[in-house]
Symmetry: C2
């Protein structure tokens, strides 16, 4: 048999296998029918490809019980072999480092969180992350199987014109790349939390998701078609700086009356104090809401209504299937989320009114670290070219001929 | 040589050829270097694939002069053979039918526009379109080479819950499919105008585009990653119904103070008359603006500022590289567009301020018909499986062996 044709057959098979592996990387466990629908491969070809991958240990069959993704799956699903690779996600937030490790079957196999002063230098933060990873490695993770590290950071990431910020990121990436010898992918941690919620959290199975995070700052992210949407200059999901009150307070962005000036931790605490509420800042407001004080509930109602109005504009533009709300303000529960939903329903176009659902975020502080892992599973260059399967097809083809 | 391997070689080649053809369908003419970058195929493989396609008449080399796309291209580009297929776009607007025909090299080879009463029944509109196509066919187009028909319609299209509207679309699609025997793809005509501008108009070469159309109604569309973004329920690009004045006029959507109530043809004409401006509705306002009357210019400044504010919210969320503004209001030129830009710059987050560009639409009323063609070129099932190349690889491979 001439060498050229043999290699073409192997190449074709490899391209089919890549198609299947890419789907499993992106979606986690899938039924054979789902793989067939998404790959466009015939049932016969698919049976052949999956058998081959399973025989080489690249994929495994999983039953409902062994799947920890939380989605209702049919009894038997195919997933990447959990042992075939691992990905690490690190979220460098303002005052804490969060680390999570996931295997190729999308199972979280370890996570850790460490608080530090906001002034801790970047080299020290990276050291802290390395130490946390080493501790996790003693437990579950095997660094030899590492396919990439995803990193979440505060603030804009690429092409944003803030050269200092970009240089700082380069340093962090290089330190981690040098230490672990795998690709390092960096993105804004709020955007990554959006991706995390869509892969592991409140928005599992949704292709188009608007994620809003109301914390000390207000930001968010878009997942469109199941992937992180970045925008032309890496600037997107900036829902906190839409004007809600042209006569309102000055915002750190240079604008006036931005959503962040009425629906953030600091803004609510200040408004509560100004209205004669109990002291204690945000904690005082939380307590007042728990006690059902009208003054506190009115504040949340107003902030929720303005938040819903901003979300309505975003939803009219983007048309998501689901809105996920995270950050401290989501922890007020219905006292905040109901006014958000009411205003959202009031302000979106009528055809969307009955459809739009709002859910609180499900992953808490782990969202960004998990999203960073999703970024690795979706985009790591190590995974793009057939990572988890030993390169033995040529031999096998020869054996069969 | 065993049959199986021979067929695998042909399949591999076919998959490479499909990759190249798909790129040329989406982007029009490309240089060899661009095809290499986008396809990931090696230079040698690419040379081989393009030579093969050219020998079979599927692609042609084009020099700068023969390319009418308006983009600055290098001296020699590769494009689909203009004679290898054609696509028709039909825009069924409220009071006119617009038809355009484009060949596989993305060249517009014919177009026509016909005005009709808004009450004309749908069967008559389809007949009118057929008649216009037949007239064009006598000239340039060859119906035998037709690969699909794209159709733009007013209002929401799929999954919007307006059953009557969806049934009406089914009728239109079926009539056209029966008459021409090719796939018919339908979408909202404002969204299609957005796609049209990104392929042939003001936003050529931009991957992420926000398109806003201010006419009798106010709507728009998003092109993200070079493709039309539809949203989870087929509802997106609804920029006209974001609240800009909570105390404002009632809107046909049931809301109050939507952008459409201050920045549409009807709203501006009414405001002009109410302010004591000259009669004549919108035409009167146009004349007043041309004469530089302060009262008229102030109206445009206010409408432009509120438009810019809504756009800022959308741009903060989506992060486009370019904003394109179409519809009658764009025809006021700088008197309207400057206030839009000023408000947009004022309200977007600082990092986006220096980057965001605003351009008037370039395709006028033809935008939606051209966008409908782009939809066919991007998504027609006839094109997805290797349409424009005769199925001769098997024979050729055998000849070579």
């Amino acid at each position: 048999m001439p060498k050229q044709s043999e290699s073409a057959l192997a190449q074709l098979r490899r391209s089919h296998e890549e198609r299947v592996l890419t789907l499993l990387r992106k979606h986690g466990a899938l039924s054979r029918r789902e793989i067939g629908d998404l790959s466009g491969l015939s049932r016969t070809t698919l049976h052949d490809i999956i058998s081959g991958l399973a025989a080489r240990g690249a994929v495994v069959s999983m039953t409902q019980d062994s799947i920890s993704r939380g989605r209702g799956r049919p009894a038997e699903s195919v997933a990447l072999n959990p042992a075939a690779g691992q990905a690490i996600g690190i979220d460098f937030a303002r005052r804490h480092v969060h680390v999570a490790v996931v295997n190729m079957a999308h199972e979280v196999i370890g996570s850790a969180d460490r608080v530090h002063p906001a002034t801790l230098p970047w080299t020290k933060r990276v050291e802290l992350a390395e130490q946390m990873i080493a501790e996790l490695a003693e437990g579950a993770i095997r660094l030899g199987a590492l396919t990439g590290i995803g990193v979440g950071v505060v603030g804009p990431v690429a092409g944003s014109g803030q050269e200092g910020a970009v240089r700082r990121l380069d340093v962090v990436s290089q330190l981690l790349r040098k230490r672990f010898g795998v690709p390092v992918l960096v993105d804004n941690n709020t955007r990554l939390a959006a991706l995390g919620e869509s892969v592991w959290g409140a928005a599992i199975g949704c292709q188009d998701v608007v994620y809003l995070r109301l914390s000390h700052g207000v930001g968010g992210g878009l997942v469109l078609g199941g992937s992180l949407h970045r925008g032309a200059y890496g600037i997107s999901g900036e829902f906190g700086h839409t004007t809600v009150d042209p006569e309102g307070a000055a915002c750190r962005c240079g604008g006036r009356g931005c959503l962040e000036t009425v629906a953030s931790v600091k803004a609510l605490a200040a408004a509560h104090r100004a209205a004669g509420g109990r002291p204690g800042g945000f904690a005082g407001l939380l307590a007042a809401v728990e006690d059902g004080e009208d003054r506190a509930l009115d504040l949340l109602t107003r902030a929720g209504a303005l938040t819903g109005q901003v979300l309505a504009g975003v939803c009219n533009a983007v048309g998501p299937g689901l809105v996920v709300i995270g950050g401290e303000l989501a922890e007020f529960g219905p006292a905040f989320l109901r006014p958000v939903e009411a205003a959202l329903r009031k302000h979106v176009i009528p055809t969307a009114r009955g459809r739009l659902r709002v859910r609180p975020a499900a992953l808490g502080d782990a969202g960004a670290a998990l999203g960073a892992i999703a970024l690795v599973l979706h985009e790591s260059p190590l995974l793009a070219r057939y990572p988890s399967v030993p390169d033995t097809e040529e031999t096998e083809e020869r054996d069969n001929s």
